[in-house]
């Protein structure tokens, strides 16, 4: 439709719309009706439980009140004081778990991003069979989380696992057979498992971003005699920045809240080196049955995530000018 036609049609269209909508259902109400189901579900599953969770964090909701929630005493900020008293075993445990989670998150994001970028660059150039590689690299992400983690736990087995078979028996890079799921090794095992699952997401996002960079930019750079590394440094990475910005924050939130991997790998008693926050809080709430304290820890986690996200968005101006 040309602009002129559009202008001619517009008033008529407006009239039609007005007539229709007044007959059908107030035009002003329609957008609200359309989002209503989404709003209701979000309220029931996310918003109300979140508010309730904040409420519970001010209650002394321990095992003694498990059958009668309403009788739990209001303890004010006591749960928070216990959680943040780093001298006590509980506070110290939380701080330790936080530090482990922070290190875990930084490593997982860094490696996943680098692997995803490398793979996307490799697959984005023209060669025969590139689609096969793209398909292959996406499989770990499509696999159900628990399948991937169960498979890794099978591979990490000290005596019969595939990892020790490869590293000890075949490549001889390690002399004794390490226990991969105990001690400090557990930390590296959980990083490895999580990266294996997550890096294809970085690959997928980066690939989508690369395909939005016009080819002409590279042709111009070729004419100017810019080498591959300079093109990567001065064209590809800057033009990927919006995608990378979103990618990093999404991976940050997922990884910091990661529960599935440690839970499937270690169950309810993870080794200290792999005591990630979500599982730490889960154990405090559901195993030790101290829901008030568990909720207070979750609220602290939420506050940390919100602050980090706000600072990140402010500093890197991610998503500025996009819809929302």
């Amino acid at each position: 439709m040309s602009v002129a036609e559009k202008n001619a049609v517009a008033p008529a269209l407006e009239g039609v719309r007005r007539r229709r909508s007044s007959r059908w259902m107030g035009r002003r109400r329609l957008p609200y009706l359309l989002i209503l189901p989404a709003v209701l579900f979000e309220l029931l599953i996310h918003v109300i439980p979140l508010l309730a969770g904040i409420g519970i964090s001010f209650l002394g909701l321990s095992q003694f009140f498990i059958r009668n929630w309403t009788a739990a005493p209001v303890v004010g900020l006591d749960n928070y004081k216990v959680a943040l008293d780093f001298g006590s075993p509980i506070g110290h445990g939380l701080l330790h778990s936080f530090a482990i989670t922070a290190g875990f998150t930084a490593l997982v994001i860094g490696v996943s991003w680098a692997g995803g970028l490398a793979a996307a660059l490799l697959v984005n150039s023209e060669f025969r069979g590139r689609n096969w590689f793209r398909t292959l690299f996406l499989i770990p992400y499509a696999l159900p989380v628990y399948v991937a983690v169960i498979a890794w736990s099978f591979m990490f087995d000290r005596d019969n696992g595939a990892i020790n078979r490869l590293l000890v028996d075949d490549l001889h890079v390690v002399s004794h057979r390490p226990f991969w799921l105990l001690g400090t090794n557990a930390f590296w095992s959980i990083v490895m498992t999580t990266v294996w699952r997550l890096w294809p997401f970085a690959f997928l996002m980066t690939l989508a971003g690369l395909q939005n960079i016009p080819k002409e930019v590279y042709e111009a750079a070729d004419l100017d005699g810019a080498g591959r590394m300079r093109q990567l440094r001065y064209i590809t990475l800057p033009m990927l920045a919006p995608v990378t910005g979103v990618l990093i924050i999404v991976m940050f939130l997922w990884t910091f809240n990661e529960f599935n991997t440690p839970y499937v790998l270690f169950g309810k008693a993870p080794p200290s080196s792999a005591d990630l926050l979500s599982l730490h809080i889960y154990v405090n709430s559901f195993i030790d049955l101290n829901f008030g304290l568990g909720s207070a820890m979750s609220v602290l986690l939420l506050i940390f995530l919100m602050l980090s996200t706000l600072i990140y968005l402010r500093v890197f101006k991610v998503g500025g000018g996009s819809r929302a």
Binding site: V9, A142, Y146, I150, F259, S285
Partner: protein, 280 residues
Amino acid sequence: MRSSLSSKASRVAGLAILSFVVIFPLYTIVISSIKPLGDVRGTFEWIPSHVTFRPYVEIWKTIPLAHYFVNSLFISVAATVLSVAVAIFAAYSISRYRFRGRGTFSTTVLATQMFPGILFLLPLFVIFVNIEKSIGIQLYGSYTGLIITYLTFSLPFSIWMLVGYFEAIPRDLEEAALIDGATPVGALFRILIPISLPGIAAVAIFAFITAWGEVLFASVLTTDKTMTLAIGLRNYASQSNVFWNQLMAASIVVSLPVVLAFLALQRYIVSGLTAGGVKS
């Protein structure tokens, strides 16, 4: 693009390393699933002593795999269908109307992605139990409870991707339909949805994967009757005497449908990510 010998060599090396990292666990799963039990009880061997498909038969008797499978399938399909339907309406509203609260709604939906699941799991459990007490709708331990939970989990991403899709579609088409006497919702069904089918399929597979693989909420909200694959297989894997060849066979059985669907739709998923906020 010029490709010199050295860049070709580094490409081959890079692809080889990445492929090895991806294939190693996949190979372990596949090869272990066709080994006799004696093989998986000893040191890992790259090649089975002999190939057998019995693990694929026996696993259905070792654990109630069919029961888990039906539970997971029903819950995931229902959650996916509902999530996509709810997301289509919401995305249509956001992409085509300017209304008060639009920004708040979009921001809140995206912000829910930030909530630690652990924070609202316990209250959700309490709310479910109380709804049952007061109005008699069973949510804890029922299919309904998990279905509405999972549909909400995939909702933010689904809405976000569909808004991107819808905004890429010129409005002229719908306006023509409106002139022809269609209602806005009629235009959505006759124009927007047919054009966006690939994107909707991509959103659906994401929603399905979310529900199919979820562990945390299923571990608290299911009972023996509604136990999903995630919890059933995890519980079996954590026992002391595990038939690993059968467990690996089960892993393949439960992964194949999602992996194949995901790979079949990968083209639309990449373009869907491009259409959604990624380009911002």
